[in-house]
Every structure is written in C-alpha cells, then in structure tokens.
Amino acid sequence: MSDEQTTGSSDATLVAGEYVLGVLSAAERGAFEARMAREPALRTEVEYWEQRLGVLASELKPIDPPPQVWTNIQTVLAANGARSGLWQNLLFWRWATIGSAAVAAASLLVLVYVARIPTPNAPLIAKLESTGGQSGFIAAIDSGGAGLTVVPASALDVNQQVLQLWLIAPGDHPRSLGLIEPGRPVHINLPAELMQRVAPQATLAVSIEPQGGSPTGLPTGPVIASGKLTKL
C-alpha cells in the first residue's frame, strides 16, 4: 500500500502518533521524549495527535474521585508553597543580615523582620510542627512584641471546627491567643498581660476546637502542631 511508504516527515508523524497512542515501551517513550526536546517539530506532531485522538476520551463515563484526592492536592500545594516561599525567604534573610545588606523583601515575614535589622534583638519566631513532622504553621512576633502573625504552611481540613492558638510559657498553663485560620495568614494582637510571657522557650500550640473556640479556656481538642519560640 502506498500509504505505508515512509518519508522523513511521515516518520515524525508516525512516531509521534505511536507516542500519543501509548503503544511505546518505557524505554521507547524515554527516547522519544529526549528526541522531542531536541526537535521542536516533533512537539508539533505530538500536539496534533493529542488534539485529534484526545476526543476519544469523551467516550469514557466520568467517575467521581474520592474527596481525599482534592485534600491531598491542597496539602501538597500549601506545603510546597510554604517551603519555596516562606522558608527560603527566611533563610535568605538570615544570610543576608549576616553577610550583607542585600535584602529581598518578598514575603510578609521578611517585611516584618526588615524593621528589626538595626536592633540588637533578634526577632522571635516559632515553627509549629505537626505530629507528622511537617511544618504546620510559622509564627512570627511583631518587632514591637505587641502582636504576632501566624502563617499556615500546609493546608488543613478542619471540617466544622476551628483552630485555636495557645501560648504556653515555661511552668505556665496554656493561654489562649485566639482563633486562627487554616488557609491564610492571621495577625493577632497580644493581650498586654501576655506580652511578657512571649519569650524564647515559650511554646506556641494549635488545637482543634468547636466553633467559637474552647469552651473551657484550655485546649479541649487534639493539639495538631506546636513549637518553641526561638530567636532567628
């Protein structure tokens, strides 16, 4: 048959078609992808077949995935976002103040700390780790010590409940600092009577509580993350 004769361009069409159809082995797929990186024309062929053959997928009957998948996606994105944004900026800030005056003001926390560069007092922060060892929240005390900002580092699904932040000074019982949000940074003004307790070695903890917060004034639900305040 004449349509089986292969020329240079129909070879590209064929191998791209085979790749898109999915009939190639793992090794052949890898080789094709490497070739595609060198030959942009192949990418065009692949897009052609993806577009043309892709409509076959419309024959598949949709299947609802379990809700856990979306929760996992949010968790991964939030954790990655925090790692690449917040912590890298924190580390960068630390090096910048040690090494030079070059400070890239890229995140909220960097902005909070910039004000403190000339002062001898290092800012206080706490990395509140969840039970799984992942960073659950990052808390930073304002430069004046009158408030703090809590940033979630990974997404949480708290369902119909709320998150409450606690301060536990050494030898003291937990004192509520108020409710925080699972999905966005929250700034909290510190009550005057608690300001002096906000010091290195004090612990910040987050518990899950019923709507409106703990009814007893002490944590009633599970503590999902905690960490000690330290000087940066």
Binding site: E50, Q51, P62, I63
Partner: protein, 195 residues
C-alpha cells in the same frame, strides 16, 4: 436530527470550553480558587481516564493528584490557540498514567481480551454522537474508514495505554502485524482528518 438541540449543545460546549480556558489562565497566575473550579469540573473525567489505563483505584488516585499538581505548575504553558483545555488536561492525565503503568508499580494485570467492549466503544450511542463536537465526529468518521479490527486496536491503545506487545497479545496477533496495523492506521487517519 434535531438541529436546535444540537446547536444548544454546541453553545453549551463552547461556554464550558471558555470557562475552562479562563480557569487555566487564572491557575497560571497562581489562583488556587481557579484550580478548585478546574478540579470540580474536570476531575471526574480525568479520573475515568486514569482508571481506564491503571485499573486500580489507589494508583489512579495517586496519579490524579499528581496530574493537578502538574497542572498547577504548568498551566502557564497551556496555549488556547493550539489546544482545547480538556484535551490538554487529558493528555497530561494519559501521560502520567502511562508512565505509572510502565514503571511497573501498577501490577501488570492480565486483561482479558476485551474486544467485545472495545467494539461496543467503537459504536458510540446516538446520544454520544449528538453531543460530540465536530472534531469528535470527524475522528469517528475517519476511524470508521479503517478496517474494524484496526480501529479497535487504535481505540484500545489510546484508552488503555497498552504497549504494542500487550496489544498484540490481547488481540492474539503477531507483534509485527500489530505494529503494521497501527502505523498504517495512523497514516490513514491523518490522511482522512486532513481531507
């Protein structure tokens, strides 16, 4: 053929497509709310794509998660002038699923030769035909010009993501014959689609 129903469907499809494009553009800008919308509107379709290739819920869930994280990172490379949003998403879901299948973590399941279902796939319901876009109809027409067993092989390769080897085994023909079927079909399809 009821024209008014057909055109209503076409208008609806066009609106859905625009909505997906808008969501992808917002995702490219880092909008997580847009990702949620995109997930809501497309995850059941993409999950079906993953399930058909992997035949395992746990594996398909893992891959689906990976697909949307990839979408989050790569939405900026989506070009509405070159691809329809759903096809772009399906391509990512298929590639991830096929890579997973090839990596062997998905235990090799001996699928019974499923020509019966493949053949019934080959004849979409009247409703599916009504709902199908022009592009879909074009492909269906061109597939119907192939020899029926060749069309089954093409469709089955695409939906199941199986290798030449596996495809040949399933349809009980020599590997060389299968390669020649598929290659000939690809060239004929291209010729037909560009007619």
């Amino acid at each position: 053929m009821n024209i008014s129903v057909g055109s209503a469907v076409a208008i609806e499809q066009d609106a859905a497509r625009k909505q997906l494009i808008a969501a992808l553009v917002r995702v490219a800008g880092g909008d997580r709310g847009a990702l949620r919308l995109l997930y809501r509107d497309t995850s059941a379709k993409l999950f079906a794509v993953c399930m058909r290739i992997l035949h395992d819920e746990g594996e398909a869930e893992d891959v689906l998660q990976d697909v949307y994280i990839t979408v989050w990172r790569r939405a900026g490379t989506f070009n509405p002038a070159r691809a329809s949003p759903i096809t772009w998403l399906v391509a990512i879901a298929r590639n991830r699923s096929i890579d997973r299948l090839r990596s062997g973590t998905g235990a090799k399941r001996m699928q019974a030769i499923d020509e019966a279902s493949a053949v019934s796939d080959n004849a979409p319901s009247a409703l599916a035909q009504l709902e199908s876009s022009q592009e879909q109809q074009r492909l269906i027409d061109c597939l119907s010009e192939l020899e029926p067993r060749h069309a089954v092989a093409v469709r089955s390769a695409f939906l199941e993501g199986v290798t030449y080897d596996e495809l040949a085994r399933r349809m009980n023909i020599p590997l060389g014959t299968m390669k020649s079927w598929i290659r000939r079909s690809l060239l004929r399809l291209k010729g037909c689609l560009e007619r």
